[in-house]
Amino acid sequence: MRNSSTTINRSKALAFLRCHRASVSLLLVIYWQIGSLLLFPVSSFAREIVIESAPNSLVTELGLSFAGGYQVDPVGREGLSYLAAQMFLRGSHSLSAKDWLNKIDSIGATAEVSVAVNRTTFFFRFENRQLDKVLELIQDALVLPRLSLSELKNLKSETTINLKKIQESAYELSVAGAKYSLFNGSRLQYDEMGTMRGIARVKIPDIRRHWRRYFVQKNLVITVATALSQERIGPILRQWKSKLRTGEELPEQISVNQWPQGNLKVILIDRPELKSYGLALVRPGSPTTFDLFPELEVANSILGGGFSSRIFTRMRGELGWAYAAYSDYYDIDYPTRTGSVQFTYIDPPAEYLVDAAIELIKVIDGFYATGPTEGEMKEAIENATNAFPFRVAFARDRLQRTVEDIFDGRPQMTSTAFNSRLNQVSISRIKTALSKEKILGPAHLVVVGDLKKVPRLNEIESFGNSVQKINIEDLW
């Protein structure tokens, strides 16, 4: 019932600029070019507890981020890290899941769990007056989790339902198709929740092992945004953390899959029950450690960020062939120390789908060939400069930056350093960045919808050096 217009303004501040680390970048580019196994380092956590002052706030926001994430799922047990994290909300030795959740609810607190590629986060929000009660409940569940078989059974059933639910969306299917195509053969090809088969195989001993291995002191970063004084909350958290299992820090490197090689590849996902269509063009992108990543972000802002981008202007503004039309580096979760994925998405109806695909490729190719105009570049740089305050406006924004710095290798920058780096951006540097980006790998075109209703679909099939029809069962 509630309707929104185009909706997401993708021009949001260009994401986090990266300091120059030539040796790391060079190493990674070599990895890509030879298509070998990619490795990325896991940082050590120099700052274990980070407190940001949030004056006037009536609530405290507490985050517990553990290194790990779904990339560490063993082959055949995809979904283990997700299930293990969710079991946190399923009770402790002294309290059943029902009683634990009732207690959290009764004090008005919220508790959420999220699993990203390289970390698991437990997040809590509560009124300041409830601090002691909330910490007690968290400690109870984190130190002595219940990990009961019946709760795991319930959780698996709910997770399977949620996996099926996301199969009802053309966008979600486009993301899944892109991951399948880009990361085939590695854990990253699947959703964070895992696969049907992987979820079915996870047993309580797996969950226990995961907890012992990953949810330990040395892998934990605590972030707090609060109006409570640092003198009050700091000692409580330190003492509280010391009660957690000690465990070992993660090894320095975790392997992830290599990028695919070859030319444009076409992925078709036929879903006759869908009424809308998804069309995604994805390509491997550079890591945030890449020297010219700021140039790439400026370029992406021009190509696919916001209502004045080339893609939006052409596909929706001039042609009216899509509702959503954008590109960015953050739709597909990826360890940004090793790379990124540029994800371009439009949602044309069946009658325009083929023409829209041809036009989209033309717009992107044209941009990669000629680069931006002076005016476009100026607009994008001003956008990034002017939007800088959003990175530091509120305590939760600053904490978010800190967590990204620690886990993703995106250091925080002062306004001066940020602007100084942006001043180096030029058309020639953008062109250099784009040409290097093209070397990284081929683009993949993912088409989702009721394909029988798409006129001239064979024209799309002829784009690539290979066409693959994917079944839903392959994706999850």
């Binding site: 309707n3 185009t6 059933s157 639910k165 009802e168 029950e273 809308s276 305050p389």
Partner: protein
């Protein structure tokens, strides 16, 4: 300029320009950004009530056009560093919202005024946006939840202004003429029907003077001050039609749906009703949190996965919805009976004090969070501006809800959760054709 204190002691300053535009300013110290929202009392209810408009979806379509009809608007907003610039249309309102760096306040506000005052809608643009709205409609109809909600509205509020779909029907969208759209804009985009809200880092006096200057000629006041409110008030709100099915239930199948869904809906009073704070608390008792009554009945007992609630309170009598997401194979008929029994618990005995405290703590915590976020503050003030006589109504509801007693819950539940005021929608999966 009137001054009020919000629950966290921030000051909200109200004043009205000569053209009738209401302005609300909430300055916050040491915040480098500003949330901006402009609310108009011109949602889908306005188009439904106007005999000169024969189709649905125009209010929403105009929301699209206001992003696209001012040359350079998108590029300039981007250059200024504005983020999350967007809009939404619903039954009672259209709102335009975004965030921008505090240093850009003057430039952004001049651009906002320009997009309304210098709108240019060409035939090509109009047709392209109709195309985009139709794609959006197709995506929305893909959701079984949307289908259920649209059905409930059209069945239960067909004789009010709220009965038609906000996004419009496809056949209506295809047939729109530019002239009809222009009529809508000239009638329903009036300064005296709008509220501008700014929350964030700015100087109060300087910003007040600046808004007075920039918005002095905001849109044209070519209709009487009370045109919209009078026009809408003329409608006769009789009791809604009742389904021929005496069980107050309708059912449908949705292709590809993996697990059944049950909707509970009850008719609500207008936001300004004294019953509203009690109903807000009842909603929390029933459907908010993992230990809510519905969650305990379905999720805890293993037949459901989660409960959603819509938080709908309108200017006029409306509907409230709870969604019960069931597990595959769950019996919809029995689930309906069980949910009915849950509602009966509130109607037949006093709610335990512990239950009430749980709901109040959750409500208090949620509002404590909202009150710390500039865009949420702007939302609460704006939504009350278009749905209540007081822009502070949402905060008043919150504070009144914290004082509600078990007896009040009992009395209000008897009034609104009785079997003749509750309807159900049952959705089950169907085989793919």
């Amino acid at each position: 300029m009137q001054k009020f204190f919000l629950p966290n002691h921030l000051e909200a300053h109200f004043f009205t320009l000569k053209n009738g535009l209401r302005v609300i300013l909430v300055p916050i110290e040491n915040v480098p950004v500003v949330a901006s929202q402009i609310w108009f009392k011109n949602g889908a209810a306005a188009e439904k009530s106007d005999p000169q408009i024969s189709r649905t979806g125009l209010a929403h379509l105009y929301e699209h056009l206001l992003f696209r009809g001012t040359p350079g608007f998108g590029a300039e907003m981007k250059r200024l560093g504005a983020v999350d610039y967007n809009a939404e249309t619903w039954l009672d309102f259209t709102r335009y919202f975004g965030y921008f760096p505090a240093a850009q306040l003057e430039s952004v506000m001049r651009l906002e005024a320009k997009r309304f005052n210098q709108l240019q809608v060409t035939t090509d643009l109009f047709q392209n946006e109709i195309g985009a709205a139709r794609i959006e409609l197709a995506q929305q109809l893909e959701s079984p939840e949307t289908k259920a909600v649209l059905n409930l509205w059209s069945e239960l509020r067909a004789d009010t202004d709220y009965g038609a779909p906000t996004i419009g029907r496809d056949e209506d969208l295809k047939g729109f003429k530019l002239e009809e759209a222009q009529y809508f804009f000239s009638r329903y985009y009036q300064p005296n029907q709008a509220t501008l809200i700014l929350v964030g880092g700015f100087n109060l006096e300087a910003t007040k003077a600046l808004m007075g200057e920039i918005f002095a000629n905001f849109l044209s006041s070519n209709v009487p001050k009370d045109f919209v409110s009078k026009h809408l008030a003329e409608k006769n709100y009789s009791e809604p039609r009742v389904f021929s099915d005496k069980s107050h239930t309708f059912s449908f199948k949705h292709e590809g749906l993996s697990a059944p869904i049950l909707y509970l809906s009850y008719r609500t009073p207008p936001k300004d009703s004294p019953d509203t704070p009690v109903l807000v608390l009842i909603n929390y008792i029933l459907g908010v949190g993992r230990s809510s009554l519905l969650s305990r009945e379905f999720v805890e007992k293993g037949t459901g996965t989660n409960i959603d609630i819509s938080y709908n309170i309108f200017r006029k009598p409306g509907l409230e919805f709870f969604t019960v997401y069931l597990k595959p194979g769950a019996d919809l008929h029995k689930s309906q009976q069980r949910s009915s029994q849950v509602l009966d618990r509130l109607r037949h005995r006093l709610v335990p004090q512990l239950e009430l405290s749980r709901a109040k703590n959750l409500l208090s915590s949620r509002y404590a969070h909202y009150i710390g976020d500039p865009s949420s503050i702007a939302y609460e003030l704006g939504s009350a501006s278009v749905t209540s006589i007081s822009p502070l109504r949402n905060y008043e509801i919150w504070q009144e809800a914290m004082k509600v007693t078990p007896r009040q819950v009992f009395e209000v539940a008897q009034k609104y959760l009785s079997s003749d005021n509750v309807w159900y929608a049952k959705i089950e999966g169907a085989e793919r054709k």
